[in-house]
Amino acid sequence: MKVPVRNLTCAVLALTSWMMFAGTANAQKPAAAPAPGEPRVTPDDLRAPVSPVFALLGTTPASIERPQTPRALTMNLISAVRDGEGLPRNYALEISPYWTTYHPDLSFDDYYNADVLQTIAQTFAVSVATTPLRAGAVAGTRVGTGFRTLLRAGGAHPQLAAAHEELIGVDTRIAEASDAIPALRQRAFDARRAGRIAEADQLDQEVAAAEAKALQQTADLRRQAAETAKRVADLDRNRVGFQLAVAGALVWDFPGDRFEERELSQSGIWITPAYRFLACRGEGTAGCASTVDVMAAVRYLADRRGAADDRTWDVGGRLLWQLSSELALSLEALRRGGTSISGDEASTRTVAMVEYRLNDDIMLYGSFGKGFGDQSDRRTLVSLIGVNLGFGRKPIVDVSKP
């Protein structure tokens, strides 16, 4: 990874400041380590995971197969089974069935104004993964499958219409470079119908040359079109209004790779309704990068591995204020109940978080608040800071530990 020196310096300075802050907080009360199986407190905790089966397996696959056609899916599965000489041990696959085939009737407007059934079709994704099972002396395989979909996808971002208009403007300039070609092709057509074959062949060659020249002349405009199209696609990922995400996953353990001894070891379901709106006042929507997300979350996780029979319910909410494209503040409250809590008593976690993106590769974040009361040593202070160097959402440098 290449990191500019200036940004790296900023990162180190910011990290040092956070360490001093954390040191002060930790001097009063030691930070609580995350409970086994509980993810660290990051701003993504409440969201339905993009790949629920990976969340349940607690794994981040090095590579995920994403076949784009039914034929590619079939070939991929055959290849995985053949390479693994049976059930593959480290395999991950994600697929959105709807997008494996063509949909000529789905217009740009239809895509944005989909009803509930069409929204489910467009956003439904399935994931499958396997990992090695190491339960005592018995080796085997863990197999998980999960899904994620939106029931409501939100509305078009207010900046979409302007970006789309700009894109059509660039397309118009690209199209103008080819305006002379149809007349040339008509002349070739006329010559061929009149029996002037040599002339028609010559004109056909001129058409081909004109096409190549127009493509070459518009190279810069096509790059500009691609950048503008990317902005439109980014706005598609940042829709506003009401969204409702649902995700679920199941994991089976196969000790000794014997089918007869399979056991449903883990299951989970996530339901996340959210509402997003732009938070810029008096300046219109153009260039506004400030948003507010109000989110609720319901999560159920069951773990029956070995002798365990833990069932955990989480219900809560989160308020996220994205002040700019770099800085975000959020407040999260989560009520937890279930058989994994000491004495079956419910507990609450309330955490404030700040996240600052230095550039595309480096992100700093910190959180402070009260954790769940299910720690064996009763330490419930959450005081965590981290720096994400662009390899994933989880910090690789954790300075919360002594």
Partner: protein
Amino acid sequence: MAVELKDEYRVADGEVRLAVSIGEGQTGLVSVFLGGVKISRSPAPIDLRVGEGSEIRDKLLEVRTIVNDVNSQTNKMSVTYQLTGGTSAMEQVSRGEVGVDNQPLDFVAVFALL
């Protein structure tokens, strides 16, 4: 490299119409030329009058569409052409896919009006 389609369309005495739409939730610009002369240029979808059969016979109807990959879910693209008013209705679909996200792709369809 453009996705090309060539076909013939038999006109009659009535009015011929052309409809062009872009699928896969993508967007783009459609330019229509009759006999080498531009008769329309606007964002998809379009539905326009090409002309009376006797006026447009023996001409080429060329449809040039620039499709932009704006759908974050897929890089697939398709353009549907519908011709009506001739001896029979015709529908043709051209399909393509970009290898790199957000790249534009040209679709060119040429119909010989006979």
